[in-house]
């Protein structure tokens, strides 16, 4: 972790003295200022933003580790309206994995910011005690439900045949408080309001972490986003608010990215990720 602190000034310097034309590979993520930010990955506005190509590294620092490299890189473009940061991540992925199930994992990606801008940043692997990171996380299976896949077993298993669910008994008025409560009761994670449990209205989730194993949902969901299949893989837009804590004006900022390949069994700590990448936000407050 010390290593990261030492590198910072260097990165900042590089960032400071070179203005990259959009078409060439950037050495930092630069968010162009626009009046409107979009969640549409296909919006032409993205073409104007410089593309940063982030090489992805194995998460092989903490158990459970990923030992076999999968997705090599993620291409990043960013926009901002001054209040929010919008990032489009693109990466190659032969087939979509968006069906949840035993031994089925979903394609996913995330961006991570230090919860508070400071001269030195927390460890890029989920932050560290006392120095949290904020994460915006997108999952292909959530995108599928948001795009209209029913919240139902037949959507996952078209052949499924079930005689009855207790919470769909003829004596219960569909949608009545008793019926809704009963349905939740038979899905404890939903009854407990576990963010993962769905049904989802958002393909993204706001998370906070203070070191491996401490990940938890942020108090409020503030981010937005959308993912789409491209001919070669995924293009996902993540839009998250910026706060003064994330730094003001020209303070050096960092961002990190992660990509999960479902077919490769990547989930949680088993992922491809970047280290901290310099981030410049045009006309930030």
């Amino acid at each position: 972790m010390r290593r990261w602190q030492r590198m910072l000034p260097v990165l900042a310097l590089l960032a400071g003295c070179q203005a990259e034309p959009a078409h060439e590979t950037a050495t930092e993520v630069r968010a162009l200022r626009r009046d409107v930010v979009t969640t549409d990955p296909a919006d032409p506005a993205w073409d104007e933003a410089p593309e940063y190509r982030a090489t992805l590294l194995l998460q092989d620092m903490v158990e459970p580790r990923l030992l076999a490299p999968s997705t090599p890189e993620v291409r990043v473009r960013a926009l901002t309206d001054g209040a929010r940061l919008a990032v489009r991540l693109e990466w190659a992925d032969a087939a979509p994995d968006d069906l949840p199930g035993p031994a089925r994992f979903s394609d996913a990606c995330a961006l991570q910011l230090p919860a508070q801008a400071a001269a030195d940043v927390p460890a890029p692997q989920m932050g560290e005690a006392g120095r949290p990171v904020e994460i915006t996380y997108w999952r292909a299976s959530w995108q599928a439900t948001v795009d209209g896949r029913p919240d139902d077993v037949k959507a996952l298993y078209p052949g499924a045949a079930v005689d009855a669910y207790p919470f769909e008994a003829a004596s219960l008025e569909p949608g009545s408080p008793e019926q809704v409560a009963m349905a939740k009761r038979y899905a404890p994670a939903r009854a407990l309001g576990n963010d993962l449990a769905g049904p989802r209205e958002q393909p993204v989730q706001d998370l906070v972490s203070e070191g491996p194993g401490t990940l938890r949902p942020a108090e409020r969901a503030r981010s937005d986003g959308r993912g789409r299949r491209t001919p070669s893989g995924w293009a996902v837009v993540l839009v998250r608010p910026l706060s003064p804590l994330h730094g003001a004006g020209d303070t050096p900022r960092q961002v990190a990215f992660a990509v999960w390949s479902g077919e490769n069994g990547e989930v949680g700590a088993r992922k491809m990720r970047t280290g901290w990448v310099p981030l410049r936000i045009e006309g930030a407050p």
Binding site: D60, V62, E63, P64, R65, L66, L67, L99, P100, G101, P102, A103, R104, F105, D151, D152, V153, L156, A160, V162, Y165, P166, F167, Y186, A187, P188, A189, R190, A191, L192, G193, N194, L196, A197, G198, P212, G213, T214, L215, R216, G265, V267, G268, A269
Partner: protein, 376 residues
């Protein structure tokens, strides 16, 4: 990794967390000689806990026919194969436990069933091993063609692999009773526990995005009542309670008596190192090599003891007490032909005769002017 003691393998071993035993450890004895694979336990559990969406395939309790039955497919076969040769000497396990055999980047040696491995939950039902049965086959103990029923729930292990494998410590062991739970509010559905549990008793629920498992019906146990799969066991093979360590074993604790005193009930795959807390009376008709592979080297002694029950009223009596009350029976005693189950304080819960009484009614019930007959 810490060093902990595992009495089932007669030695210390490494584990992800330091040893910490609960005040009491939930435990159970299953008598495979009484199990009839009626699946009442399975349905009792399923209709109570896993009738929700995404749980259709999920059997916290299942009964499979050994050796051709598996749920999920090949669960124990795969792991035995991966773990390789295992040997015992003088009751001490010489090989590596699943924690000691963990591969780079892992905390436990595990494997992940494919989604379709959970199909056919009763595959192998009543299929016998030892080759095809011939016309006129004539069997005596041990049977040379054989199968037996293995009822399985979560073992609420002293050293759970699921707990060790959870990257965010969402799985814990209750200090008061040793029950292992997955926090449904905190779990993020990484399925690491599904991969790590060698008994494959953790299941991923695609509709909640979390992993779920047997909770030993703790809401019932908290009221002194046995879990659903015990109370509904019509084969009367099950007895729930608490097991002590060998050093603290008590004769009047039914589980201690069967596990530590009579040593007639044995853990499932003790060599894996989890110190599982469901203890099985091995089937007396099955070839011993297979049983040793599954229950360890104590099998021969356990079967001899069980076959002596006809001349051992205590053992026979206690086994006949199984399933006669829904309450947890922490203490027991036998007086003559009657077996009594008691609370800790000695107050009586239930008493049963070792042999059901015979009543002969008067042929003519004068009081009511009617003949009482067996051929009406």
């Amino acid at each position: 990794m810490a060093r902990v003691h595992n009495w089932q393998i007669g030695r210390d071993m490494s584990y992800w967390y330091p040893e910490s035993r609960p005040q009491k450890q939930f435990a159970a004895v299953f008598d495979t000689n009484k199990c009839i694979s009626c699946q009442t336990c399975t349905i009792a559990c399923k209709t109570t806990w896993t009738s929700g969406k995404g749980q259709e395939y999920m059997l916290w309790n299942n009964v499979e026919t050994k050796p051709y039955g598996f749920y999920p497919m090949a669960w124990d076969l795969k792991l035995l194969e991966r773990l390789g040769p295992q040997s015992w000497r003088d009751g001490a396990y010489q090989g590596r436990t699943l924690f000691e055999a963990a591969e780079a980047g892992e905390r436990v040696l595990g494997w992940r069933p494919e989604e379709i491995d959970y199909a056919y939950p009763n595959v192998g039902e009543d299929d016998c091993a030892g080759g095809d049965v011939e016309q006129g086959a004539d069997f005596r103990i041990p049977h040379d063609k054989w199968f037996f029923y293995l009822a399985r729930i979560c073992n609420h292990c002293t050293y759970p692999a699921c707990l060790a494998s959870c990257p965010r410590a969402s799985i814990y062991k209750r200090p008061e009773d040793g029950i292992v739970l997955i926090d449904q509010g905190r779990c993020r559905g990484y399925q690491e526990c599904v991969k790590a549990c060698p008994y494959k008793k953790v299941f991923y629920n695609p509709m909640t995005g979390t992993s779920e498992k047997c909770i030993a019906c703790f809401p019932k146990l908290e009221q002194g009542i046995q879990p659903q799969c015990f109370v509904n066991c019509i084969g009367k093979i099950r007895f729930a309670g608490h097991v002590s360590t060998p050093a603290e074993a008590r004769e009047d604790n039914p589980l201690d008596y069967l596990v530590h005193v009579k040593k007639v009930a044995l853990p499932l795959y003790p060599q894996w190192g989890l110190e599982p807390n469901v203890y099985y009376v091995p089937p007396i008709h099955v070839p011993r090599r297979f049983l040793r592979q599954m229950f360890g080297p104590q099998v021969d002694a356990a079967i001899e003891t069980y076959r002596g029950a006809a001349d051992d009223l205590d053992l026979a009596g206690l086994l006949c007490l199984f399933g006669s009350t829904e309450r947890v029976v922490p203490r027991w005693k036998r007086t003559g032909d009657v077996v009594i189950g008691m609370e800790e304080d000695g107050s009586e819960i239930v008493r049963v005769p070792i042999t059901e009484p015979i009543f002969i009614r008067r042929a003519f019930d004068a009081a009511r002017g009617v003949t009482r007959t067996n051929t009406p």
